[in-house]
Symmetry: C2
Subunit: 426 residues, 2 copies
């Protein structure tokens, strides 16, 4: 079963809006064995919508559109669909009542302009949108050429462009439905998420191994904070379980120490799980990462069970006053130093009464560098009741990238400590 994604919205072609929706949808389809052949982004123009729908339905059994369901006049998707599927628009009182109720919850009356969201093409089946005002739509069109021609029915699924709403509807309606009608063989996807190692380095490490399995589809997905390695197996290759097990064992032998998870979760979730299992508490003291380490940690639901809190100690004075970093250390070695990182980690551990303290201090740039201390230099500290360690990094990138990479390295330092791994990344 093949899919085409049509992303509708001038903002995708003019402006700053990033088409994260298409990537999300393609990933979810891929997981259930539906291959996305093409993603097309087009303008909010009836002609472009009609043309793309026609092409897409000729090429693929599933067409998913996003965007253009909002209450403002640039949202024309529903009218274009009524055109395309040759039906009239009907008003759904139940949808309007739900919209009114949502606004009431926030203490404001529903704007009249939202009323347009209750008008729906008559041939559409409604898919519930539990967190937004616009429902999603499903159109089923007959087999091209009639059932006798042997083709499969076509499904057009019309989703809102607001990412959270689209994601919820994908999870609750679209994927369960497609899983049911897609009887073709599933693809098995394996993910290995790494950090602290370059893409080319990973490749060098496991080149021979990868070349021994030419039938696997290999993708390296570099991100600011690490490289994901994805291995996809067709049905017949997935069936050879022993052959894959050997491959995976080899993978862990060569790059295992860089792999922080084989699931979809982020490093902060991995670390959170380890802290919870070991019943340990954590506090963090940040300088150059400016709160990002703690922001990541607290993105995890339930993190208040193990994360006690921490400091952003941007100034030297706050490092001394709140974390007990010694004036002498700052004078002799500077705020960006192994000594400062260690004392910050110890200080925050003490101040919050935590089992573990972690710290970051470095030069995120663009200002603040010296010949001895360039932009990207960062020291990380980690203190437990038994010991304190520090580690030096030289990170590449702009200010935001250095913050991202520094925060990731701090979480990785913690992960390795919690697993009793030797704490050297390279």
């Amino acid at each position: 079963m093949k899919a085409t994604i049509i992303s509708i919205g001038n903002e995708l072609l003019n402006g700053k809006t990033v088409n994260s929706n298409a990537a999300f949808i393609a990933a979810k389809l891929y997981e259930i064995g539906i291959v996305t052949g093409r993603v097309v982004a087009i303008r909010d123009e009836t002609a472009a919508i009609l043309e793309s729908l026609e092409q897409a339905l000729a090429q693929s059994e599933v067409v998913i559109t996003t965007g253009g369901l909002g209450p403002t006049p640039d949202d024309i998707t529903k009218n274009a669909l009524a055109d395309f599927f040759q039906c009239e628009m009907v008003f759904h009182e139940a949808i309007w009542q739900k919209i009114e109720q949502r606004f009431r919850q926030r203490g404001i009356p529903a704007p009249e302009v939202n009323r347009v969201q209750a008008w729906i093409p008559a041939k559409a089946r409604l898919l519930d949108n539990p967190i937004g005002t616009a429902p999603a739509l499903h159109f089923e069109t007959p087999v091209p050429g009639g059932i006798a021609a042997g083709g499969a029915a076509r499904h057009t699924l019309v989703l809102p462009g607001v990412p959270q709403e689209m994601k919820t509807i994908m999870a609750e309606s679209v994927i369960p439905f497609l899983r049911e009608i897609n009887t073709a063989g599933l693809i098995e996807v394996h993910l290995y998420r790494t950090t602290g190692v370059a893409e080319s380095k990973i490749y060098e490490h496991c080149r021979a191994l990868l070349e021994s399995r030419p039938e696997y589809e290999v993708a390296f997905l570099p991100k600011t904070t690490g490289v994901d390695l994805r291995i996809a197996l067709r049905e017949k290759d997935a069936a050879k379980k022993q052959r894959f097990a050997e491959f995976e064992a080899g993978l862990f032998q060569t790059i295992g120490k860089y792999i922080y998870t084989t699931g979809p979760e982020e490093l902060e979730e991995v670390v959170g799980k380890l802290l919870r299992e070991r019943r340990l508490t954590l506090a963090a003291a940040e300088s150059c990462t400016g709160g990002l380490v703690q922001d990541k940690i607290t993105d995890v639901a339930g993190s208040s069970d193990y994360f006690l809190g921490g400091m952003v100690a941007y100034s030297n004075e706050s490092k001394m006053r709140h974390l007990g970093v010694r004036a002498e250390s700052l004078q002799r070695y500077g705020a960006v130093s192994e000594a400062a990182a260690k004392e910050m980690a110890e200080g925050v551990r003490r101040a919050f009464g935590a089992d573990i303290g972690i710290s970051t201090t470095g030069i995120a740039g663009p200002g603040g560098a010296t010949p001895e201390k360039p932009v990207g230099l960062i020291y990380l500290g980690l203190a437990t009741v038994q010991k304190t360690v520090a580690k030096k990094f030289l990170l590449i990138g702009d200010r935001v990238m250095i913050k991202e990479r520094g925060a990731q390295a701090a979480l990785e330092l913690l992960r390795r400590e919690l697993l009793g791994m030797e704490n050297t990344t390279r």
Copy 2:
């Protein structure tokens, strides 16, 4: 002049990689009056690349591709281009030396697999990549049908997929080049970034005004943290300056208090500029936003000039111990209360010796809610030497969205305070 963007990479069609590159490129082209007609994402397959290039060059004068220039075997773009433009691949010693040097800086030898990045199609002009290993390429193809046919030459610009590298090359090479060859009339784009108000509410406020200018292209761009309103003017409309000035004055009359900038900058940059101008210092105490407020503030280069630091006080104990929140307040009103928000703001201001203290305390969910205190309830505090204020919000969304929206609301509270605006958002 029209453009097509071709995004190359299995990861865009299978997986989690978001096509932020296409949005970035489209925005930059739009700013200089080049309209992107279509964005197509395709797989790392020679046939798909050749087919898309042919289509794109038939439809548009400028074709920009991203992706497939890396050192691993799934990167096939350059070979496909050599096929398409019918030339051989040549080895550039200078590129290889630059690659070796980059790795040397990081203290590791250049992996042999990177050598493939120095092989380049002979017909390509090189565009410097100052921050990465893969150079970008430019192919100029003759006017279709010969100069006599009156068409314009075609330009294919081939960029790496790594976002920071692509962005740098766009800024330093591609945009200056296209600006020079694109002699068509520019489009004028005006941006109004708002926060604290719903898309439909903005529309309701300024509907009559927008309808009085049907010739302007209006786009509402809702994001988690606010709604951007973008107004684009064709050349002839941009020339009527008085007419636009009246329109803009009307816009500020109706929704001006929600507009935090008319430039591209984020709210934290606006606030940073205000603090710097007024020579005021800031400290922050966060509970439910978990470090995100401070992370945003420190994303701004030079923020250490006005941001002294702060706390993430996740536990009640840390709120009392480090911020001086009174046990009595916590007992009587709870940690999520106006009293706690005020005392946190005052406490962090004192602890860091700052002119202004801001605070957040709320329920980010999914756990921790009670019938009286639902998920999304958040109190923000702000303390100066003269006064302390607090403000209550009921935010919608999942945990990460509530953190995002809470942090944005805290920065907006600060902006309004700095501008002496009445601090009511609705």
